[in-house]
């Protein structure tokens, strides 16, 4: 003990130096953000790397909830899109405030059953009549159209996929608005569709976008796919062409059910016309 005291007394300058230096460096590192950041990053390279990996893992674990929230947000944003409103031109002159009335409503749903291998493919989604899904509603995802609802229960709905030999959707060429209809290709390839009955004067190009026409379930301009081959079948009075579908049906996870609020009115009117004829 005495030796220790002697030792400290002999080299007191050094010990005092240590004390003061450590003290000032603590102040320095603590109160200067740049040095703090540098010190922490340089001295914690190892722990920093570890933290990055752990946070990657956590992110992966929370992917499900992130997906849910993003899908919900997509639906909410689609509800605000101009294309989901219909111009109420009758009241336009009278009421300045309400130019738009909502025509299309989107309900987010999760795909809980899906098939792409059979000639008749169906998709089951986890939203039903209680959430507002009705038979005849269109179904789409962020990449393009998916199909239409053919059956609903309280909490589930069955969607007839575009990959179904009976599916037909009205479609147009994005550039020149030539009308046709899209159906699944003959060879059961889940990436190929056929655009039929396009007028002969249309001059489609390979790579041209095919979108919905707005005549039926979907708002106008929802992507369907791109033309990949112009000469599939001899068409006679009309052109047929092969379309690469925009949606990868094997990877469907979230879809939006599109309910056209004016669909009943439209179809009723059209039925009336047919009856009259």
């Amino acid at each position: 003990m005495r030796n220790l005291r002697e030792f400290i007394r002999k080299y007191n300058a050094f010990f005092l130096f240590l004390i003061f230096e450590v003290f000032s460096l603590i102040i320095y590192v603590k109160y200067n953000s740049f040095q703090k950041a540098t010190f922490i990053t340089s001295s914690n390279e190892v722990t920093g790397g570890l933290y990055a990996r752990v946070s990657d893992l956590y992110k992966y674990l929370s992917l499900k909830s992130v997906n849910d929230s993003l899908a919900a947000e997509n639906a909410r944003l689609r509800n605000q899109l101009k294309s989901s409103f219909y111009v109420d031109s009758v009241t336009k002159h009278k009421v300045v405030d309400t130019i738009y009335k909502q025509q299309y409503e989107y309900i987010v749903a999760k795909v809980i059953n899906n098939s792409i291998n059979s000639p008749k493919n169906y998709i089951t989604i986890n939203k039903g009549s209680q959430q507002g899904v009705a038979v005849g509603d269109g179904v789409m995802c962020n990449l393009g159209i998916v199909g239409k609802v053919i059956n609903v229960s309280a909490h589930f709905a069955v969607v007839q996929s575009l990959l179904h030999k009976d599916s037909r959707f009205s479609a147009i060429l994005a550039n020149n608005k030539e009308l046709g209809y899209i159906e699944w290709g003959d060879d059961l390839d889940p990436h190929k569709g056929l655009l039929n009955d396009v007028s002969n004067n249309a001059q489609p190009k390979i790579g041209e976008q095919v979108v919905t026409s707005g005549h039926s379930l979907f708002p106008e301009g929802i992507p369907i796919g791109k033309i990949s081959n112009l000469h599939t079948k001899a068409g006679g009075f009309s052109l047929n062409m092969e379309v690469t579908l925009a949606v990868d049906f094997s990877k469907l996870e979230y879809v939006n059910v599109v309910s056209n609020k004016l669909a009943a009115e439209q179809s009723g009117l059209e039925a009336q016309q047919k009856k009259d004829e």
Partner: protein, 186 residues
């Protein structure tokens, strides 16, 4: 360096005079540093740090702990004006250690009565020049090293060290000659 308590207490009048001189010196140097020299910044490279002269000129008899405390407080005072808490304090603490080591190596302890302060007029040009060069280089080196805090800009840091050190040493020598008191050495 043992405390020379007897001398420290006996000569009270001399001591109070020393204290007053050092307080004035401290205030003047800090004012010069923060209001004049802080604005001198040649090409963003050279800034003289003359305030360390206060620590350099403390009397030989100052106990180690007082040297450290004063150096630390001086550094903190400068830091308060430079907005870099701890930076100058750390550099000044290094300076205090170097001062103590340098003096213990080069000055005989029994000569303290005749040579109370390490000034140019008392110690002579040769010793004082070496003293300022060594201490300034140490202080500036640690100051710039702490400030940069990495080795990426080492050339820039060394450039600043060299130019600033020359500037500081020059100012110290000038002030040494300004306050030169012709005094016969016994």
């Amino acid at each position: 360096m043992p405390l020379n308590n007897r001398d420290w207490r006996l000569n009270r009048k001399k001591m109070s005079r020393t204290i007053i001189i050092n307080v004035i010196r401290f205030i003047v140097l800090v004012f010069i540093q923060v209001f004049l020299l802080k604005n001198i910044n040649v090409y963003n490279l050279a800034t003289p740090y003359l305030y360390i002269l206060f620590i350099l000129l403390l009397p030989f008899e100052t106990p180690n702990i007082l040297v450290f405390v004063l150096a630390f407080m001086t550094g903190l005072t400068i830091d308060a004006f430079y907005d870099t808490p701890g930076l100058h304090a750390a550099a000044c603490t290094v300076l205090a250690l170097v001062r103590i080591l340098f003096i213990s190596i080069t000055v005989q302890k029994d000569g303290f009565d005749n040579e109370p302060e390490p000034t140019l007029s008392i110690m002579g040009l040769r010793w004082f020049f070496t003293y300022t060069v060594v201490l300034t280089l140490f202080h500036h080196f640690f100051l710039f090293a702490f400030e940069a805090f990495n080795f990426l800009e080492i050339q820039y840091t060394l450039g600043r060290l060299a130019v600033s050190s020359v500037f500081t040493i020059l100012l110290m020598l000038i002030s040494g000659f300004l306050f030169f008191k012709r005094k016969e050495r016994k």
